[in-house]
């Protein structure tokens, strides 16, 4: 019994080898850069101007949109990329270069060709590239003993998309964002990302690149979406949005970057757009900066439109009690907080309700106690 037939009996049958692989066919227009590496170039018109993000976000004038198509999502050393899309953003166009690896045997040549299009250290714009595309490239480069890609700047738009639209989108996948935020529609040519590994396997097996037409399109459209998304995000971060919620979220993104000045600017804009949440954000900044009068004024203004008025009322009670030393006001706000809480009771988780109710009752007792002893003290 041969080992091969033992393997088949023990581990299940395997398809016999395809009869002599047919020659490579079905490639879109392009040219060969070497054995197994095929280059495709396209120009895509873009609306609007291509301004990079403000400083501090890893973006820069000469940054490249970058996106890989891979043999899987498993990660580790067994996953490789077979298509690298690089987009150079020009005044009104996106110059797309796609490098297609037609056989894993040519990976080294492919990486070298990519160095020409995208020199190491180039700043990048990606979608989830910090966790996926760039580490994968570093792995492939180590395997071929090449120096790391080590981008000089890296704008990962997934992180910003999450910051800006997490609350309103069912997911922050690129397809969702480009459809709902940018209003883009892909043609029927597009294939879902999950089918990509299978299609490439099919190509390797049969040599017919026409099965990958949709993958090439998908990759190109990802780059276009990246370029347009970057425009949109740049505008929002600069304050160029009339959507108050977006501005609030953008301000929060600035704040997390340690830029309170920009955060305040955006929140003021959001306040002008009539977004109550902006008032609370501004109040928290005032609180952090110990501008109590401002904070109290902002909270009072925020209360009617707040999504969590109880918390706002408690903040007011705390500020009046501890900072501004007005126990009457403090008591009144604590009572207001309790009224709000009782009104919301049917909508709340009973445990959370009881927890909050005990806390506010405690506060109220303390404030009243203090007030009583203060007046008592005066009498003596």
């Amino acid at each position: 019994m041969t080992l091969l037939s033992r393997l088949e009996t023990m581990l299940g049958p395997a398809r016999p080898r395809a009869e002599g692989k047919a020659s490579l066919r079905g490639l879109p227009p392009g040219r060969w850069l070497g054995d197994g590496v095929y280059l495709m170039e396209t120009t895509v018109e873009l609306d609007g101007t291509a301004t990079p993000l403000p400083d501090g976000w890893g973006d820069s004038e000469g940054a490249f949109c970058f996106d890989l198509e891979t043999t899987g999502l498993a990660g580790g050393t067994g996953t490789y990329a077979f298509l690298a899309g690089v987009g150079r953003i020009e005044a009104r166009t996106l110059e797309v270069t796609q490098l297609f690896l037609t056989s894993p045997a040519a990976e080294k040549t492919w990486l070298e060709a990519l160095d020409e299009t995208l020199p190491p250290r180039s700043p990048l714009i990606t979608y989830n590239g910090k966790r996926f595309d760039v580490p994968l490239m570093e792995t492939r480069r180590i395997l071929h003993r090449k120096e790391p890609l080590d981008p000089a700047g890296h704008l990962d738009l997934l992180q910003l998309a999450r910051a800006l639209w997490r609350k309103r989108l069912p997911s922050c996948r690129l397809g969702e964002v480009e459809h709902s935020v940018l209003g883009l529609r892909r043609s029927g040519e597009d294939v879902p990302g999950s089918l990509v590994p299978e299609l490439y396997r099919d190509f390797l097996h049969r040599g017919d690149a026409s099965v990958l037409t949709g993958v090439f399109y998908h990759n190109r459209m990802d780059l276009v979406a990246l370029a347009l998304l970057r425009q949109r995000v740049a505008r929002i971060l600069a304050g160029g949005s009339d959507d108050g919620e977006e501005l609030v979220a953008a301000g929060e993104a600035w704040r997390r970057r340690g830029r309170n000045d920009e955060a305040l600017r955006l929140w003021h804009l959001a306040r002008e757009a009539g977004t109550a949440e902006a008032l609370e954000c501004l109040a928290l900044v005032a609180k952090a900066e110990r501008r109590w009068e401002d904070a109290v004024a902002l909270w009072e203004e925020a209360l009617p439109g707040s999504s969590d008025p109880f918390v706002v009322a408690v903040e007011l009670a705390k500020a009046w009690e501890h900072r501004l030393g007005n126990l009457d006001r403090a008591g009144a706000w604590a009572e207001e907080a309790r009224r709000i809480l009782d009104r919301l009771r049917p909508l709340m988780d009973p445990f959370q309700w009881r927890h909050r109710r005990e806390a506010i009752d405690h506060r109220l007792r303390r404030v009243r106690g203090k007030a009583a002893s203060a007046t008592g003290g005066k009498r003596v």
Binding site: M1, T2, L3, L4, R6, L7, E8, T9, M10, L11, A14, R15, P16, R17, T71, G72, L73, A74, G75, G76, T77, G78, T79, Y80, S103, P104, A105, A106, E138, T139, I142, L143, P197, E198, R201, L204, H205
Partner: protein, 756 residues
């Protein structure tokens, strides 16, 4: 207290002799003087540290290991407990880092708990001698934030085979620093890599070496092993390289005594003895009450708790603080365990009741007495457990309390098998196809295979072709590239042959299914057929549904006083014979088993209280088996009943004694007898390796075939029962003269064997 204790031990041992049970053997092993070697050339900081901490020199085995390891020779050190094993491997590693700070080492411990221990002790040495060596553990508990630091900066990385297999090798590009500079790989507790685990480990090491070669390093292996018959052979098979053996310990040892104790017989004709659990508790209780520091080993977690309860009661009766003993087993939290270990070292705790968790190299100092509740399953592990009582000076002792298991009874009456020179050979089968193919996949994921590239000493051509046809690999440019969208190491457990396990799902509470365990596919027909009773965590469950497509088994909790025992209709097909003589042979077989009926057997009394039919398909398993074909002429004067009874009896005897030579568990082999085997046309007994593809047990049985028969015969002759009992030919043949008939067959067979 200590002095008092050492005086008390001989008296205590004499007291054991007066118990109603039988001390079937008492052996004395003389003390041994230490043997020192002159200090080797060492980094000053290291040497100063050792001298200042009062060391007179290195023991000879430490020095020998150091010399070999530094010369780049692979070493396996066989070390008894408390012989300074850790220094054997830390010394060359620290010295190499002291000389060249870029140098890296990887320490592999079989379990996570052990690696934590070693980290602590290594850390102590490193800090004390003022060397700047960064030492980290890398396992499932390492926080993600710390991982990149370990990868880049860890000079000594401590991990376990499972983590190496799924966490390190498939991500080797993140470990460039380690692999480029890897000078030493330490494998502790080498003997635990046997059977299925060892067969996987050999392949994990093949992958590790491929990756080292890719990064240009050629590490030296330093292994430590408990006493087994073939440490060098095992190490060489695991590593696929020549290995030097260091077996002569230079560590001192005090005098030791070992006793085998068999509990008194309660019912002679049935061969029933007094509970070994109660006897163990009585013996250990007396020792502890006399102030003798004692470790008690037992086989299951539940027994740990039972013994602990009994012993505490005993201590209270003797007016000794019951909290001076503790339990120790898997399931205790790491810091609880650390506290117990500290308590034992300091003497604050007088005793501990443990599963084999304490058998491995956890540091608990040395105690005076070890009591083994039952034979732990292998000579090697019995010796390790007994070694827990062992001091560099003064007397120590170990007592094995035989349980009612057949093998315990055999050893109680044949103590030479217990004491006699060689313990078992540890066997592995790295080329088991199921295991090999899975690791070739993992290897291809890590680095593409070149055409014709060997994998250790295994050929890969056909396997690579097969995987290419399955479209898992893609061949291009003379290499095979991983082409599937999956992570092959993820689904591959190092503790089973195939990844096919049934998941046991508890549906007692509707709408809240809970996964409570797993059963491997070959065991499923016996254990989890519909209506079977399945025990887990001290509760009984009944199987309500077995979904063999989805590999799911649904159970619900029941309150019953019986267990189930399935009858299997077994078909054995010989596919290939690898070696054969006139009667014995071994080779590849197809074992097909279909459960037919199950019996309900009452707990405690073991009476048959009902049965049911099982409707399940046939389970097939490719594996290896050793066969014994009996010559027809032996049976010329026998009727069919006698023939069948004798065959069953002999098969039963072989099942009992075979694990003694194969270093495996009872459940790792199956024994089947056929009155007329369809392949050989003669009465035949098969010893079947119970792992898909086989892990070397059939070959092992073939190699020890003579001794298998001898020990079967001795087990039969020495058994004190009347007409057959579970400790010899089985209880089923009682009243049919089974013991006598089997004896006739065994005698005739021996005579026939001699006449050849």
């Amino acid at each position: 207290m200590l002095l008092e204790g050492t005086k008390k031990l001989p008296q205590f041992l004499n007291w054991v002799e007066t118990l109603p049970g039988e001390v079937t053997a008492r052996r004395r092993f003389p003390a041994r003087e230490p043997q020192f070697a002159p200090w080797p050339e060492l980094d000053d900081r290291l040497k100063d540290f050792f001298v200042s901490s009062g060391m007179r020199g290195l023991y000879t085995h430490q020095e020998e290991t150091f010399r070999l390891a530094l010369a780049g020779k692979n070493v396996v050190v066989v070390t008894p407990t408390a012989s300074g094993k850790t220094l054997c491997y830390t010394l060359p590693v620290l010295e190499s880092i002291a000389r060249e700070s870029a140098s890296r080492a990887l320490f592999l411990f079989p379990t996570k708990a052990l690696s934590q221990d070693q980290l602590a002790s290594l850390y102590e040495t490193v800090t004390a001698c003022g060397l700047d060596v960064s030492t980290f553990t890398y396992d499932g508990d390492t926080p993600p934030a710390a991982r990149s630091k370990v990868r880049a900066a860890g000079q000594v990385v401590i991990t376990n085979p499972d983590m190496l297999h799924t966490g390190i090798l498939p991500h080797h590009t993140k470990w460039v620093k380690l692999f480029e500079n890897l000078r030493y790989i330490v494998i502790d507790e080498l003997h635990s890599y046997r059977g299925i685990f060892g067969s996987h480990m050999a392949n994990v090491l093949r992958r590790l070496k491929r990756i080292c070669a890719f990064y240009g390093s050629d590490p030296t292996f330093i292994c430590t092993s408990a006493t087994i018959a073939n440490p060098k052979e095992l190490a060489e098979r695991l590593l696929g390289e020549p290995v030097e053996l260091v077996a002569r310990s230079g560590a001192p040892l005090g005098e030791r005594q070992v006793l085998l104790y068999n509990p008194p017989v309660v019912n002679r004709s049935l061969g029933i003895r007094r509970s070994s659990l109660l006897e163990t508790s009585r013996i250990a209780g007396e020792a502890l009450a006399s102030g003798i520091s004692t470790i008690v080993f037992t086989r299951s977690r539940i027994n740990v708790e039972l013994l602990l309860t009994y012993l505490r009661r005993e201590l209270t009766r003797h007016k000794v603080d019951p909290n001076r003993i503790a339990g120790y087993r898997g399931g205790y939290l790491p810091n609880e365990r650390r506290a117990i270990e500290r308590g034992l070292r300091s003497g604050e705790l007088l005793g501990v009741v443990s599963t084999n968790a304490l058998e491995l190299g956890v540091d608990i100092g040395s105690l005076e007495l070890a009591v083994l509740h039952g034979y732990p399953g292998s000579i090697a592990s019995a010796r390790q457990q007994m070694g827990r009582a062992g001091r560099r000076q003064g007397l120590s002792a170990a007592i094995l309390v035989a349980s009612s298991f057949a093998l315990d009874q055999f050893l109680a009456y044949q103590p030479d098998y217990f004491f006699g020179g060689s313990p078992e050979r540890a066997r592995i089968s790295p080329d088991n196809l199921y295991i090999l193919v899975n690791h070739v996949k993992c290897g291809a994921f890590e680095l593409p295979f070149r055409e014709g590239e060997p994998f250790g000493d295994a050929e890969t051509a056909e396997i690579l072709t097969y995987l290419e046809r399955q479209e898992v690999l893609h061949r291009a440019g003379g290499r095979y590239h991983w082409q599937a969208d999956s992570f092959p190491a993820e689904g591959l457990s190092l503790r089973s042959a195939t990844s096919e396990n049934y998941v046991i799902i508890d549906r007692t509470e509707t709408g809240r299914p809970v996964v409570i365990g797993e059963v491997d596919r070959p065991s499923a027909p016996m254990l989890i057929h519909p209506e079977a009773i399945y025990f887990h965590g001290g509760k009984s469950y009944q199987v309500t549904e077995l979904d063999s497509e989805g590999m799911r088994c649904y159970v619900k909790e029941v309150d019953v006083d019986y267990y189930t025992d399935a009858d299997l209709a077994v078909r054995l097909e010989v596919i290939d014979e690898f070696e054969s003589g006139s009667a014995w042979g071994w080779g590849e077989v197809l074992l097909a088993a279909r459960p037919t009926v199950y019996k309900k057997i009452r707990l405690n009394t073991h009476e048959n209280v009902g049965y049911g039919h099982i409707h399940l398909g046939e389970e097939q398993m490719h594996t290896t088996a050793c066969r014994l074909c009996l010559p027809e002429e032996l049976f010329s004067a026998w009727d069919e009943d006698e023939k069948s009874t004798a065959l069953t009896g002999l098969a039963h005897l072989l099942r009992i004694t075979a694990p003694l030579f194969l270093m495996c568990d009872r459940s790792d082999i199956q024994v089947h007898s056929l009155v007329k085997d369809p392949h050989f046309g003669r009465p035949t007994i098969y010893l079947v390796d119970n792992f898909p593809g086989g892990v070397g047990l059939a070959e092992g049985a073939w190699q020890s075939r003579e001794r298998l028969l001898d020990s079967a015969r001795e087990a039969l002759l020495a058994c004190p029962c009347g007409e057959g009992c579970p400790a010899c030919v089985g209880a089923l043949g009682r009243g049919m003269g089974a013991k006598e008939t089997t004896r006739r067959l065994v005698d005739d067979l021996t005579a026939w064997g001699r006449s050849l």
